[in-house]
Symmetry: C2
Subunit: 288 residues, 2 copies
């Protein structure tokens, strides 16, 4: 299948790579051209000079960029993919962005005969590299049927959650849950250290029961060791929590603990730790 | 082995039952005498008129009562077990109580030639009934060696965490982690409902990844259904968080989110929901 892919960062690069390895004809675009050239050298396919050029003739065009503004630029912007896509083709956006921009693009796409799916992912860089992401999709069911088997090249679960924006909203729920888990874990482990306990021994005991979580099992020991130079960055988490809190403002949901934890992430950014893993909340509560 | 057991509530009753079923000679005491008689009718053994009488001649005496004051009463109080226990015997307390009272009793016991272990449990009523509790122990290693194989009749894990009070402090870490997880989950699910998502479908997707937890897997669906009439009660959680926050005050740990969540539990109590499951934080954020 002829495909376009916009944005070859730590997520988009390997995702597009899985499409090429599966035999699809992929044309890529990246803001920094050298990254696109490096990608082509590794996977084959073509590098385009603009998003519109990458989209020309493609049945599905994917994007994985930074934020709402980046996303508008590569779609409805002057050289955006919407100017290159053919009627009846499908646009799949993997950026974690607002539900509002998803609805805005879906509407703009419909006017041009394009179907748009918001499809944020979870699973991180290693999930992208291994091709085992979880993809939460919002949009039209017919477009989903077309895109789903292609997305499956880099995902182990691809689920249609509802109308346009529903993928983004599902991702927000995920991040809200993560924030609570990580802060509880950070407070618990910092308390353990202050109490003079062997924190790793505590983890080995309580991880068998009702307190356990993916975060406890995968980040507990590294938090005790004070290792935060890996994983999902504080800067990205802050972006995601901002989107979630904006959505909550619009839909009337209350996020009292999430709002507090967002402030803690703000403090980490201010201290220069924006690129550390989200588990670095631990740093604010302990000498780790 | 000749054993004493003080406190036959929903936890202590089945725990003492496992000891009797294993062939030990168990003498029980309960503040409400009829419960002790019912226990004897079910499991055999003897009912005593006072804690001291239940402790007479026992090699190990167990307790599982309500709080610090109850614990003092049944140990160092006028008819407490310390007045009945023989030198060289071991006292094992399964109450979730303060680390301070554990240290206090350990010291008082030492003066009388008694070893004391603080040994709070996790796993809840069903864990007690099935005999698969997790037991976190603080105190003397030699006393632990004596008690461990007996405790194992109702536990799947019995771990010595350190000196007197360490069992209680480990339990506090557990409850701090649970509080964060549950509030994050409640905010996430309430957000999902406000956003018009199918919250159970959201759970089925995000429970595969970094947001997942025991609470999400075991309480997520019941929270969406608004079912809170089971499980670990808000009143008990508030008691445990009070102990944790007092300990943090003493050891210098900060618990900002835990303190906030404790206030939410206070609100639930005020609304008359003190006997609901801890997952009822959901009620404060949604119409469930």
């Amino acid at each position: 299948m002829k495909l376009g892919f916009i944005g070859l960062g730590v997520m988009g690069g390997p995702m597009a790579g899985h499409l090429a390895k599966a035999g699809h004809e992929v044309t890529v675009y990246n803001r920094t051209r050298s990254k696109a050239d490096a990608w082509v050298a590794k996977y084959g396919g073509h590098a385009a000079a603009t998003p519109a050029e990458a989209a020309a003739g493609a049945q599905i065009v994917f994007s994985c960029v930074g934020n709402d503004d980046d996303l508008r630029q590569v779609t409805i912007g002057p050289e955006g993919v919407f100017h290159g896509m053919s009627r009846g083709s499908v646009f799949v956006d993997h950026t974690t962005a607002s539900a509002a921009v998803a609805v805005e693009l879906e509407s703009a796409g419909r006017d041009r005969g394009l179907a748009c799916l918001d499809a944020p992912v979870s699973g991180g860089q290693s999930g992208a590299e291994q091709g085992i992401l979880t993809v939460m999709v919002g949009g039209d069911a017919a477009a989903f049927e077309i895109a789903q088997p292609v997305i499956a090249h880099y995902a182990r679960a691809v689920t249609l959650m509802g109308a346009s924006g529903s993928g983004q909203k599902t991702k927000m729920v995920n991040q809200i849950c993560v924030a609570g888990v990580v802060e509880g874990l950070a407070e618990g482990l910092a308390f353990a250290l202050h109490a003079g306990l062997d924190a790793k021994k505590v983890l080995s005991v309580i991880s068998k029961g009702a307190a356990t979580s993916w975060q406890m099992e995968n980040r507990g020991d590294t938090m005790v060791d004070g290792k935060f130079d890996f994983g999902f960055a504080v800067d990205l988490m802050r972006k995601d929590l901002r989107i979630a809190m904006e959505e909550a403002r619009a839909n009337g949901a209350e996020l009292p603990a999430t709002a507090l934890i967002d402030q803690f992430y703000a403090k980490l950014q201010k201290q220069g730790h924006g690129r550390m893993d989200t588990s670095s909340l631990m740093k604010l509560l302990s000498d780790r």
